[in-house]
């Protein structure tokens, strides 16, 4: 991101701190899409994802005066969004199993790189959303949001090995789903 963009964001954030609704809307426009897709991948369905997005932004605007600019605004609001999603997921009482033997029986993906040219980002996004809840959350945090397994272990209160095994499970399931997508089309 360029310095100019950073300055523009700082101005908007300062206006938001003063309660400027136009600035709040501008900030929402800048970050809502990325945050909504994060919610959708974490939670799996549109309605809950929109609710999480709404509550996250209300929460962010309510405590924006505490944002000191030590991190980027994107990182700050992402943390709020992830916390909101985790709070919703906690209510669902997901159980993260360490190993699912059935996953190990899935055939290995062909190493032929040709297949990937036929896959669209929309198909990958949809396939992630369709993963079982536990491994979907871990896959999203690790592969898309850049958390490592130790951090995921701390956040989700699971062991590092559970995080790793669920991640591998998600990866295999995802490959299977995408392979069938290619075959179908």
């Amino acid at each position: 991101m360029s310095t100019t963009n950073l300055n523009i964001h700082t101005d908007i954030i300062e206006a938001c701190k003063a309660g400027d609704r136009q600035a709040q809307f501008r900030l929402y426009q800048l970050y809502s899409r990325a945050m909504y897709n994060l919610c959708a991948r974490m939670l799996g369905d549109r309605t809950t994802a929109e609710d999480a997005l709404q509550e996250s932004f209300v929460s962010a605007f309510s405590k924006i005066h505490t944002f000191e600019g030590r991190s980027s605004f994107g990182a700050w609001i992402k943390r709020i969004v992830i916390n909101k999603c985790l709070s919703i997921l906690n209510k669902r009482k997901i159980f993260y199993q360490e190993i699912d033997e059935r996953v190990m029986e899935l055939p290995e993906e062909s190493s032929n790189p040709y297949h990937w040219a036929e896959i669209t980002p929309a198909q990958v996004h949809q396939a992630i959303k369709e993963l079982p809840e536990g491994c979907r959350v871990i896959f999203t945090l690790y592969q898309l949001e850049g958390y490592d397994h130790q951090e995921i272990s701390d956040i989700l209160q699971v062991s590092v090995s559970t995080s790793k095994s669920q991640y591998h499970r998600a990866k295999k399931l995802l490959k299977g789903k995408l392979r069938s997508e290619i075959k179908t089309h």
Partner: protein, 174 residues
């Protein structure tokens, strides 16, 4: 070309954000922020009328109550009732009661700075004047020549002091 799913995702990370939230989401955020920022008065206009009626009724009750019986003000009535001390022991007990009340008010006042606040400075001066008078009266009271009239004068000064201190607390709270 990508060799695996990780490579694909890392390369296409931005393009994976394919969905857009519905327009209704911002409307709901807007409404929630409105609810948070609007005062109670703005949200419930009738509350103003109810508050005004309640205030009038309470005020009326206080006025009628004071007129009817010639009672002390609420602030003075809040002081533990002390009968006119007729000897030195009773006087000491009465003074301890007033000092306790004054100590409590002092604690409330000390939490806020009065620097630059003209009204608070004026009230503070009045308190200082009463303190001087209290010191003068206290010097006249001795165990061997205690006069109930001296105790009465002291109690009057204490009551005045408490009224002004309460005004100060109310003012600072605003």
């Amino acid at each position: 070309m990508y060799q695996n799913i990780e490579e694909y995702i890392q390369s296409q990370r931005q393009q994976l954000d394919v969905e857009v939230p519905g327009d209704a989401v911002w409307d709901k955020i807007d409404q929630s922020l409105d609810r948070k920022t609007k005062s109670l008065w703005e949200r419930y206009p009738l509350l103003k009328v109810a508050a005004a009626i309640l205030l009038f009724a309470v005020g009326l009750a206080v006025v009628v109550n004071n007129m009817g019986s010639g009672k002390k003000s609420d602030i003075v009535a809040d002081i533990p009732s002390v009968s006119l001390p007729i000897d030195m022991d009773q006087w000491k007990q009465a003074e301890a009661n007033y000092e306790s009340r004054i100590e409590s008010l002092m604690q409330q006042m000390q939490q806020v700075s009065i620097a630059g606040d003209a009204e608070a400075m004026k009230l503070n001066e009045e308190i200082e004047q009463i303190n001087l008078e209290l010191d003068k009266q206290r010097a006249l009271i001795h165990a061997d020549n205690y006069q109930p009239s001296q105790g009465k004068r002291m109690l009057e000064l204490y009551e005045q002091k408490i009224i002004i201190m309460q005004k100060m607390v109310d003012h600072l709270e605003q």
